[in-house]
Each structure stands twice: as structure tokens, then as C-alpha cells.
């Protein structure tokens, strides 16, 4: 998939943090907060703007096992929701 070459990163308006009071990872942004489960945190912490999605998927597959095809669908569903809301940016490498 061509889109897999794109390397997502967290938008500057959002911030990935550890909430010391609730003891949970969170993504903070202007209008609210997402309290992350372990898989959401694992995905987001790999979104550094350098790793393409394909590499994020293979990293997660080697860490946690499971079917890579199903995993890729899950990762894309999660990323797409954040992309739609502008919390994640995914520049097309061809535009540079």
C-alpha cells in the first residue's frame, strides 16, 4: 500500500504525556484528552515522523505477535481517526 510510506507524527497542538494522578498515558489536545490504552500508547509512541506506517506495524508485530494483516488494519483505523481530527499529521513524502 502506497500510503504505508508515509511517516505519521503527533501534531504540535497535541501532547503525549503520562498522567501521574490517574497513572495512565494520555494524549492532550486543545478540546480534550484521550486516555490511552496500552496499544494506543504503543502506536503513538512510534509515530515520530521518521518511521513509515509499515515499519510501525512490523515493530508492533514483533513486540506483541499476532496476525500482521489484522494488526495493520487496526493500526490504520486508529491512525485515521486521529488524522481526521488533526491530532496526527502524515505528510506525503512525494510532496517534499
Amino acid at each position: 500500500m502506497d500510503a504505508d510510506l508515509r511517516a505519521p507524527r503527533i501534531a504540535s497542538k497535541a501532547s503525549l504525556r503520562w498522567d501521574a494522578v490517574r497513572q495512565k498515558p494520555i494524549l492532550l489536545y486543545p478540546e480534550g484528552v484521550l486516555i490511552l490504552n496500552p496499544s494506543a500508547e504503543a502506536i503513538l509512541s512510534l509515530c515520530d515522523g521518521r518511521r513509515p506506517v509499515s515499519e510501525i506495524v512490523s515493530e508492533l508485530a514483533s513486540r506483541y505477535g499476532g496476525d500482521p494483516v489484522a494488526l495493520e488494519t487496526d493500526v490504520w483505523n486508529f491512525l485515521q481517526e486521529l488524522l481526521d481530527r488533526g491530532l496526527l499529521l502524515c505528510p506525503d513524502p512525494k510532496e517534499k
Binding site: K13, R22, P30, E31, G32, V33, I35, N37, D84
Partner: protein
Amino acid sequence: MPSTHAASTRLEKDAGKQPRALDLGFPFSLLCEVTFRCPLQCPYCSNPLGFAHALRDELDTAEWIRVLEEAAGLGVLQAHFSGGEPLLRKDLPEMIAAAHRFGLYANLSTGGTLLTSDLAHRLKEAGLGGFQLSIQDSRPESAEWAAGMRGSFAKKGEAARMARDAGLTLGINVVLHRQNLDRIEEIIALAESWGAERLELANSQYNGWALHNRRWLLPTRAQVERASEVASLAQERLRGKMEILFVIPDYYAAYPKACLHGWGRAFLTVSADGMVLPCQAAREITSLSFPNVREENLRDIWFHSAAFRRFRGTDWLPEPCQSCPRKEIDFGGCRCQAFLLTGDAGATDPACLLSPHHHRIEEALAEAETRETVSWSYRNPTESKRLSGVPCHPSAPSRAEPEPTP
């Protein structure tokens, strides 16, 4: 400021299947109403009708910094600086820097007319995240008529540009009502052209000033239905470019909104004079007395004050709420609306179809379908003093005249 804070701060507690983080008992969000002073006079302002009595006794810088530190220790993740016009506080960058230092995500809600390029850069350097600019309408004449300030429209356009140039994330907030709802396409186009990443289109909530001016503000059903369609098409068209939130008036919904996700559950407001409220409209509930940060710390107030415990959870709910399957969804609706329309803050929100007081809403809606011209009041200290102390149910206001702007 727009009267839709509850709707604007979405709490999304399950990115994945999580235990319900809301039920851990810690607040997420603090609204800091740092001043009630404002150069604008919007007739739907979310400040209390009697704000003029609390103009002189503002918390000072050190008191606000203490509040922010206590809030962070209590689990608050976001601090929303609002007013009045928060840019009137010369120490705003200092307060935002403190919020940032305590790990809070700082947002600003402003009318924008007092922004300068230098101030925008200082706010950014202090760690401000979201910059939310209120606009009243899509055209200068009608926008300035609603705001009660000549020249405000162009200043807002400049503020949007200066905020973006300083690297701030621009959101635009618009309170929708009878007088601007038919220009919703133009309003969306304006927000696009000013470079907003997010547009909040929230219908006026009829508490305080907006309840007093309800006959002037309440739209017809046809207006609301048409605007909903326009908004949902724009949401599709602009997906990924500009996020659009559209909040319908609860008068036109079958069930009440889950006001603030429940009383004393996720949000708290600290007012200009230090009063601590579960929601910024709650000061209107004169049957409760609210604590003040000048007398107690925020943790004791949150967990132990009678006002915060009064409507927390669902045990206090009356019928028809107590046996209703929706009670964990809407918690009986808005306490302020219940108090203002029924005189009992513990009643079911009359916006609910099942409320024994729902006829109060139906009567207002029937009135909205008539075409007569009505008078209304600007939000300013003169009107505030005149109106506070009188019953809040819509009364016959004087003819609206804006106070002269300096």
C-alpha cells in the same frame, strides 16, 4: 464568552476498552474566568447576570497561580482561560506560564479585540496551546451589532492572523441563535478563510443572559433543521482540514444534554472573585452557596463541599429520572436550567420530554414561531445591576442600547 463550554470540552475516555476513567473521581478540566470585565456586550454571555457586583474583587496573580497548582495536584489536565475578556489581565502570560509549568494544557477563549502581535508571541512562549477566538456573525454590521462594539469585526480578523503567525492553534467559536443562524454557510466560509483548524458552532444555552434575551435568541425549528444540514455537509467536505462541531439547542432535542458529564464529575470553574462552581452558570442557582478559593483549598472544595456533593452521581435524582434507563447518560440534565425554569435545582431538566415541566420549553418554542419584534438587553454593567435581583425568567427588557466603547 461562548456559553458552550460543556459541549466544547469532549472527554474521550476510551481510546480502546478502558475502565471508566471518569469514575476515578478526579476533575479533568478547570475553567479560569480571570475577569468579568469585557469590551464586548454579547447578549448571550455565559457570565452571571449579576457579574457587575463581582467586578472589583478579582483574584490576583499569586492567588491564580496557587489555584493552578492545586488543580494540577487534583488531576486537572487542562486549564481554559476565559472571562470576560482574559486579555484585559496584564498577567495573563504569567498565569499561562504557570499552568504550563504545572503540566496543564493551556487554552485561551478570547474576543480577540485586544490582541497585539507582541502579546500573541508572548502567549505562545508562555506555553499556550489552543487559541479560541469568538466571532458573532459573518458580516461586520451584524457581528458588531451583536457584540455591541464598533470596529470589533476587523480587529478579530487581525487577531486570527496574529495568532496564526505566532504559531498558535486557531479555533473559532460562534454562538448560534435566531439572528445569525441563517448565515451559517457564510460563517463556515469565514472560519475557513481566517485559517481556523476547528470551528465550534454551538447554539446558545438559555441560562443567565441568554435566558433573559431568549425571545430574541431562540431560533425556529426550520432554522435549526436547515443549519444542521448545512453543518453536516460542511463536516464531510472539510474532514481533515477544519473540524466542525455543531451543537443543537437542547430546546429542540428530545432529551437533555449530559451537562458537564455530570455535576462535580469532570469539570470545575473558578470565577474572577474566587468562587468555585461545578459549571460557570451555577452561580445562578441561588439556593446553593458556593465555596471560595480564598477560604479553602481546591481539593477540599472538590471532594467535601456541600455544593459539589449535592448533585454528584445519581442517588439524588428524582423521578422520572431515577427509574430512567438514560440516567447514567444525562444525569438528569442541566441543574442551572432546572433551577431557572422550575425554581428547583433538583428537578428533572425541563428540556427532557419526560419532565413534568416540559411545557415551559414548549411554550418558548411556540413563541419562537411567531414573527414579532422583541426587545433585548446588552450584557454590560448597567444592565447587570438593573437585572440582578429580579427573577431570571424572561421579563420585559428595555430597548437594547450598547454602552459607548472607549
